[in-house]
């Protein structure tokens, strides 16, 4: 589903290479985890795939079901089925969470040539999915992420994912700032979305999240590349021995 080949990316304003030939394949139905030390380029990868400004691709390719992601606007990537759960979800005062969700859902449907959801249908679906994530009616009414706790913001990201039903979900350190209970809620939300035609790329520092979201494949990233790929056991090895050994071996 997601094919990243020899991707090279530098900062637009600075002569600083972040990704140095990253190659990664995530097939449909699988959950892949990316782990790696600080500064290895994990978040940059998620930004470049979702179309954030400020980066320049200097080589390589990234495709979603054969479509060139790198030539698409962020909203086109979203309509094509890509979703990034932000590490730091953005607060948008004055825009209701519900309005935001409905605008996003209907914009994607429109871009795909589907009918927009009626407000009745939308309301029914959003209430049902919010309930599963313990998101109450008040959180739906409040402005997007304003005054939300860290856990509420992350649950709100998963609610957006559940509403938008993307096929390729990238989660950027969704576990950061979460307590154990919130992490379980988030993981349950993600696990409920697992399906044969959907794939996940879970970026995390720690093995802990992967106890709840069981990955099929674990990649270790260092200095802008994938340095090792393995099964779930690789995450446990990192937990025991740290990154140093793996990174040294891979470079």
């Amino acid at each position: 589903m997601l094919e990243v080949t020899n991707l090279q990316v530098k900062l637009e304003d600075e002569d600083k290479q972040i990704l140095k030939g990253l190659t990664l394949t995530v097939p449909a139905g699988e959950v892949h985890a990316i782990m790696g030390p600080n500064g290895s380029g994990k978040s940059t990868l998620s930004y470049v795939l979702s179309g954030r400004d400020g980066y320049e691709v200097t080589g390589g390719s990234a495709t979603l079901d054969g479509e060139n992601l790198l030539e698409m606007e962020p909203e086109e990537r979203a309509a094509a089925g890509l979703f990034l759960a932000f590490q730091y979800p953005v607060e948008i005062p004055g825009v209701g969470n519900m309005t935001f969700l409905r605008t996003a859902v209907n914009a994607q449907r429109k871009a795909r040539g589907e009918d927009e959801l009626s407000s009745g249908d939308f309301l029914r679906v959003v209430r049902e999915r919010a309930k599963a994530l313990h998101i109450d009616a008040d959180m739906l009414k409040r402005p997007v992420n304003v005054g939300f706790s860290g856990g509420e913001k992350k649950r709100n990201e998963i609610l957006q994912m559940a509403m938008l039903q993307p096929r390729m979900c990238i989660m950027d350190e969704t576990d950061s700032g979460l307590d154990v209970d919130a992490m379980r809620l988030v993981a349950d939300g993600v696990n409920a979305l697992r399906s044969p035609d959907r794939a996940f790329l879970v970026i995390t520092h720690y093995q802990r999240l992967l106890d709840h979201i069981r990955p099929d494949v674990v990649h270790i990233m260092a200095d802008g590349r994938i340095v090792r790929t393995g099964g779930p056991d690789l995450a446990l090895e990192v937990e025991r021995n740290g990154y140093a050994g793996i990174v040294a071996e891979g470079t």
């Binding site: 909203e75 953005v90 004055g94 935001f100």
Partner: protein, 476 residues
């Protein structure tokens, strides 16, 4: 959003105020708190009135005749404003000073705002009351007369009120166009509110003559405990000079909501003078869309203890169809204890539009426990637009809380990316972020239904202008 936005402001922007300037004043020593002082402003010094003043005809025989003569003297003494006057440095008064406005084509009428609201409609065509198009101007708790009808009655209450707050509001800053208005206005309303009025009074402006130079003067008197919602919509003339004087007795409440849509080369000067007595509440919100030159002045005298005065504005300016310049000039005087004032002004500017904010809070000696707040912010949607802000605090009491802030910025790129990453197209995402930016000003409209309708109108305007921009970009 503005924190990030402020950092990304284009370098060309001249922001008079320091970005994110926040001043908290809780002064122990009065001298310390007088940080921002402005020189006393005196009006023009030319002895002979300009030709335009000589040509002015003031009605001679009504019960307001004395007030008009006084106003004419004030005007002649002050003279018409000149670009170098302290309070006209950012706004060239030339178009307001001109003898006549340039004719302005009459476009299609916008869909009526607040159409579903149960309200008392009073229609003005080119500034003249049209009784046939209006509801009967009577309702429980309020007596509404035209200025002309009131003027013709000897001993009418308006003889005492007409021009009184305007005259008081000429110090320490002269407001020549308000004096001019008082001197010559023959149209407007005298509204006497004696109780709580359930139905809002809705003044609707329409246009017929392309060159109409409209002068309107409304005098509103609210008795103790009386309450009124006053709405103004539509477009008055090719040029407008409106004065509203509102005198609130103890415990009275006035909600004023104006949605001023301008088209083409329209110019206007509006003044609101309010005097707020004990326990009373004055709240005014103005939505301004387009216009070549608009100057809105609010002069609020907080005279009674425990009273509240809020003035707020949301301005959307697009310079694509010609120059856009919008100036909000506010002067709030705290002269009583435990009062609250708010100035909340938000301007969205694009295609070379210029926004100005001059806002002052004056806390007089003895006005203890004053709670004053002022925020002026501009969202610049391109590098060509400009926001000029001059916040002023002048405080002579030692137990007050006054804060002000002014920011100038662009759309927050991270928020824009966030919305787009959810599939919201760029144009639509910008509209959402603009609405987000305006939300604090809009929140000053207390009534949920009215606020929702204003929000819808804003969204309509924003979507239309976003489309126009992408068409231009496409054809360029």
């Amino acid at each position: 959003m503005t924190d990030t936005a402020a950092r990304t402001a284009p370098a060309e922007i001249q922001a008079q105020a320091q970005t994110q300037a926040q001043t908290q004043t809780r002064a122990d020593a009065p001298q310390k708190s007088r940080g921002i002082q402005t020189p006393e402003v005196v009006g023009g010094t030319q002895p002979a009135p300009a030709p335009r003043l000589e040509a002015l005809q003031a009605p001679q025989d009504g019960c307001t005749a004395a007030a008009r003569r006084d106003a004419m003297q004030r005007l002649v003494a002050a003279g018409l404003p000149k670009p170098r006057d302290e309070y006209w440095r950012y706004t060239d008064p030339k178009l307001l000073n001109a003898d006549t406005p340039a004719p302005l084509a009459i476009g299609d009428e916008e869909p009526q705002m607040f159409g579903s609201l149960d309200r008392l409609r009073l229609v003005f065509v080119d500034g003249v009351f049209d009784p046939a198009a209006s509801d009967a101007p009577d309702a429980d708790g309020v007596r509404i007369e035209t200025l002309q009808a009131a003027d013709a009655q000897p001993g009418h209450w308006i003889a005492q009120s007409y021009g009184a707050l305007e005259a008081a509001g000429q110090k320490p800053v002269v407001r020549p166009f308000a004096a001019l208005n008082t001197a010559v206005a023959t149209n407007g309303l005298a509204i006497h509110v004696s109780a709580r009025v359930a139905r809002p009074v809705h003044i609707i402006h329409r246009r017929r003559d392309e060159a109409a130079d409209v002068v309107l003067h409304h005098v509103i008197r609210l008795d103790a405990g009386a309450e009124l919602t006053l709405i103004e919509t539509g477009m008055a003339g090719a040029r407008e000079n409106t004065v509203i004087e509102a005198d609130l007795a103890p415990g009275a409440r006035l909600h004023h909501i104006a949605a001023i849509r301008a088209a083409g080369t329209r110019i206007g000067a509006r003044h609101i003078f309010a005097c707020v007595d004990e326990d009373a509440a004055f709240k005014s919100f103005t939505l301004s869309l387009n216009g070549t030159l608009m100057r809105h002045e609010s002069v609020i005298d907080i005279a009674g203890d425990d009273s509240v005065a809020h003035v707020a504005g949301a301005v959307l300016g697009d310079g694509a169809q010609g120059p856009f310049h919008h100036d909000d000039t506010v002067f709030v005087t705290h002269g009583a204890e435990r009062c609250e004032s708010r100035q909340v002004f938000k301007k969205v500017l694009k295609n070379g539009a210029v926004g100005v904010f001059q806002g002052k809070i004056l806390v007089k000696p003895g006005a203890q426990k004053t709670d004053g707040y002022q925020i002026s912010q501009a969202l610049l949607l391109d590098d060509d637009s400009q926001f000029l802000a001059k916040p002023e605090l002048e405080i002579y009491a030692d137990d007050v809380r006054c804060s002000h802030g002014s920011t100038t910025g662009a759309i927050d790129p991270v928020a824009l990316y966030y919305l787009r990453s959810r599939g919201v197209p760029k144009d639509r995402a910008i509209v959402m972020l603009v609405l987000s930016f305006l939300a604090e000003a809009l929140a000053e409209v207390e009534d949920d239904d009215l606020r929702a309708e204003i929000g819808d109108r804003l969204e309509l305007w924003l979507n239309r202008h976003a489309t126009a921009d992408s068409h231009r970009a496409g054809s360029a």
